[in-house]
């Protein structure tokens, strides 16, 4: 504090401020360099872009309508895009040198690739909702099961209640297994480094991309064939937890690595043991990241079809007992329904997929709200809450020993009973 004032203020005077603690403003992490935005448009760019686009569209149109035996919208788009890139490169090369031309062409290509991927993502989701729109408005779609609904029945009969319930049960059970184990595994990888944990990490990383089907096959081979459990909700939940476990472990490991080392070392310096440090410093600091990791794992698990296909069986009615009898879940129901080519069944299948998509989006929204921030990166509200907490602490400490507060700060504070002091040395 003192040093800062001398440097910024008049250099000759030394201001001695009373010794206070100032909390540094941690809103923006220091020392992080962000790349400069390099954008901007000139008029010629706009001309070249629009000229290229018009030329490509009309040329392709001519090919499609007048000259060639071509048909189909997708082919039209692909061909006109190729023509557009070529024309645009030509137009730019009239004005600019070759490196600039490549720069412009690459910009166009990268933008189109991004447009394709994000466009397809939005379209896939929108298409699911659009095709399911016939089934979704009927309230019975959410309050009935498929017991009485045949393939030819209208959409006013039958629904997906059994699959919603089944999905929630399976998800809950699988989270109950995979969250504690996954967090423990992540803490293990982070806290106890060594050859063993390096090996575990390699195995976990390789298992992240384990085909979901094989997780189902594994549970089928063990739980169902050896232990003789029915095809049931529990078996499906176990299969899902095998799929989710590596995802949660990996994400936990990554999140814990982001906890500032200065915090854990401060805890050690204050005499905390490893367990206390983990429980009181590391995990609370990483809380939002951990929650995000779990939710993203759940979002992945909820949509898995193939492990459930093998282990859960299929039923048309509500089953709330995870131990006995087949249990339906949303992805499996969507898959089963569209196997039937009746129009109403397909609509129901898309409706089911849309419901599943809503659940996934919901989980994502929750993950965005509570997470998406680095450890120690707080919202304004959290900062206010934390400042209030430390004011309360200050008041509490002040009220605890008024005598010590008045005493000379140089003399060590003596506590009435401190048997621990002898042990420490």
């Amino acid at each position: 504090m003192t040093l800062l004032k001398t440097e910024t203020g008049a250099r000759t005077t030394t201001v001695t401020a009373p010794p206070t603690t100032t909390v540094p403003d941690r809103r923006r992490p220091r020392g992080v360099q962000s790349p400069r935005p390099l954008g901007g448009f000139r008029t010629t760019d706009v001309f070249a872009l629009s000229g290229g686009l018009a030329a490509a569209l009309t040329t392709t149109g001519l090919l499609w309508i007048q000259l060639g035996p071509f048909t189909g919208l997708l082919g039209y788009i692909v061909v006109s895009w190729l023509l557009f890139v070529a024309t645009y490169a030509l137009l730019v090369s009239f004005d600019e040198d070759r490196p600039t031309m490549w720069d412009r062409v690459s910009t166009v290509v990268v933008h189109s690739l991004a447009l394709v991927l994000f466009g397809v993502l939005i379209f896939v989701i929108a298409y699911t909702f659009a095709r399911g729109a016939r089934a979704l408005p009927h309230l019975n779609f959410f309050t009935e099961d498929m017991r009485n609904a045949g393939p030819l029945d209208p959409l006013t009969v039958g629904g997906i209640k059994h699959a919603i319930i089944g999905t929630l049960i399976e998800l809950g059970l699988s989270l109950a297994v995979s969250v504690p184990l996954g967090l423990l595994g992540g803490v293990f990888l982070h806290e106890i480094p060594g050859r063993f944990s390096r090996f575990v990490r390699t195995v976990v990383e390789a298992m992240t991309a384990l085909p979901d089907l094989l997780a189902g096959l594994f549970i089928f081979a063990t739980v169902i064939l050896i232990f003789g459990l029915d095809k049931s909700g529990l078996a499906a939940a176990l299969a899902l937890s095998v799929t989710m476990l590596p995802i949660i472990i990996r994400a936990t490991d990554v999140v814990l690595r982001l906890v500032p080392g200065s915090l854990t070392e401060a805890a050690y310096a204050l005499g905390c043991g490893q367990w206390r440090t983990v429980w009181h410093v590391v995990l609370p600091t990483a809380r939002s990241g951990l929650a995000t990791a779990v939710i993203l794992g759940a979002a992945r698990g909820i949509g898995e079809t193939s492990p459930v296909l093998i282990t859960a069986g299929a039923t048309a009615q509500v089953n709330v007992d995870p131990l006995h009898g087949p249990m339906m879940s949303l992805p499996l129901l969507a898959y089963t329904l569209v196997q039937n080519s009746q129009e109403n069944m397909v609509a129901r299948g898309f409706g089911t997929a849309a419901t599943l998509m809503v659940l996934v989006l919901l989980l994502f929204a929750v993950a965005r709200v509570i997470g998406g921030r680095g450890p120690g990166d707080l919202t304004a509200r959290q900062r206010r809450r934390r400042a209030a907490a430390s004011r309360r602490d200050l008041k509490r400490f002040g009220g605890r020993s008024p005598a010590a507060g008045d005493a000379d700060p140089a003399s060590p504070v003596t506590y009435p009973s401190s048997p621990a002091q002898g042990e420490i040395s």
Binding site: I125, L217, W275, F364
Partner: protein, 338 residues
């Protein structure tokens, strides 16, 4: 520090190094034990997956021997069975997927890290994550009910003009045949590969984006200072820096593509012969074989399915290990903390 060491008089015996012993409390010992136990359980589960597949597969593998790898048909209960056809199908679908997905993923990763406005980036990263979490059945529905019918004309166009390349040939139709039925082009390796590409692109993309955004700002500025265009900077700084991540991310996506099940099942129509023409109706994959046959199987046929699963397991494991080691080696990681 070094100065002090040099100043020490010669000949004097270096003082014995102190042994630092930590006496862990009971709580810490328990904690470390539990954490180790957790790690061991995870390891055991992961090993058991492979072990049980192998154990269950033994029955069938002992029966068929080496012909398991070379036989195309799949009739475990009556006659021969083997994975030659399904493995070829799986690999072809994965190759189509990974070619498309790599192009998309590199483009989008570059877009997010280099081109997109700063305020948009966080959203785009979130969208890529969301795309990785969209259930495969949703992609499958979209592929089977929408994309399949829109791609037909493109498939026909490719096979008309590039049919002289063997993999693009479609048997049974002649060039520009107006009477050719479009159903020859449905349910093909190409369409399945396209859909799988959409599912693996975000996975590869997030690995690449992370590496690209870590490219050192000093080198970027250096490239600009030397007069590079943005493309020149990307080509000389960002891409070389992220080379490991591009390869690793691609392999990671390949591992996923090999094992993708439900979207593939919904699109392809299975055939059990080696079918290298990717635009033509009919292909097969290991995972779709298991997903469609597990129900109606006798114990022996089930064992044969486990053997197929074991082959898939080995394949993805090898690909993933290679990917993980490449990604781990490429990441510099060690950043000093303040």
């Amino acid at each position: 520090m070094t100065g002090a060491a040099v100043a020490r008089p010669e000949g004097q015996a270096t003082p014995e190094r102190r042994r630092l012993k930590t006496n862990l409390g009971l709580a810490d010992r328990v904690f470390r034990g539990v954490a180790r136990g957790g790690g061991a359980i995870v390891l055991v589960i992961m090993t058991l997956v492979g072990a049980f597949l192998a154990y269950r597969a033994l029955l069938a593998l002992r029966e068929s021997g080496l012909s398991f790898v070379t036989t195309e048909e799949w009739n475990p209960d009556s006659g021969g069975f083997g994975i030659a056809a399904v493995i070829v199908g799986t690999v072809l679908i994965a190759i189509v997927a990974i070619v498309v997905a790599t192009v998309l993923a590199v483009g989008v990763a570059l877009y997010i890290s280099e081109f997109a406005p700063l305020w948009l980036r966080r959203w785009l990263v979130g969208m890529v994550d969301l795309m990785a979490a969209v259930p495969s059945v949703v992609y499958g529905l979209w592929g089977a009910f929408f994309l399949q019918w829109k791609v037909l004309s493109l498939s026909r166009w490719i096979s008309d003009w590039f049919g002289w390349i063997p993999i693009f040939k479609v048997s049974g139709v002649t060039r520009h045949d107006p009477l050719a039925t479009p159903t020859v082009y449905t349910s093909s390796t190409f369409i399945a590969g396209l859909v799988v590409a959409l599912m693996v692109a975000p996975i590869a993309c997030s690995v690449m984006r992370e590496a690209f955004s870590q490219a050192p700002p000093g080198e970027r500025e250096g490239a600009y200072a030397l007069g590079a265009t943005r493309f020149g900077m990307i080509g000389t700084v960002v891409l070389p820096f992220g080379k490991g991540a591009i390869i690793g991310g691609t392999m990671l996506g390949l591992g996923r593509a090999l094992g993708e099940t439900i979207a593939v099942v919904m699109i392809i129509s299975p055939v059990f012969v080696i079918q290298p023409r990717i635009l033509e109706n009919g292909t097969s994959s290991v995972s779709s074989l298991i997903a469609t046959h597990y129900g109606e199987s006798s114990p022996f046929a089930l064992s044969a399915l486990f053997a197929a699963g074991l082959a898939l397991f080995a394949m993805t494991l090898i690909v993933n290990f290679i990917a993980a080691s490449i990604v781990a080696r490429s990441r510099s990681g060690a950043v000093s903390e303040v």
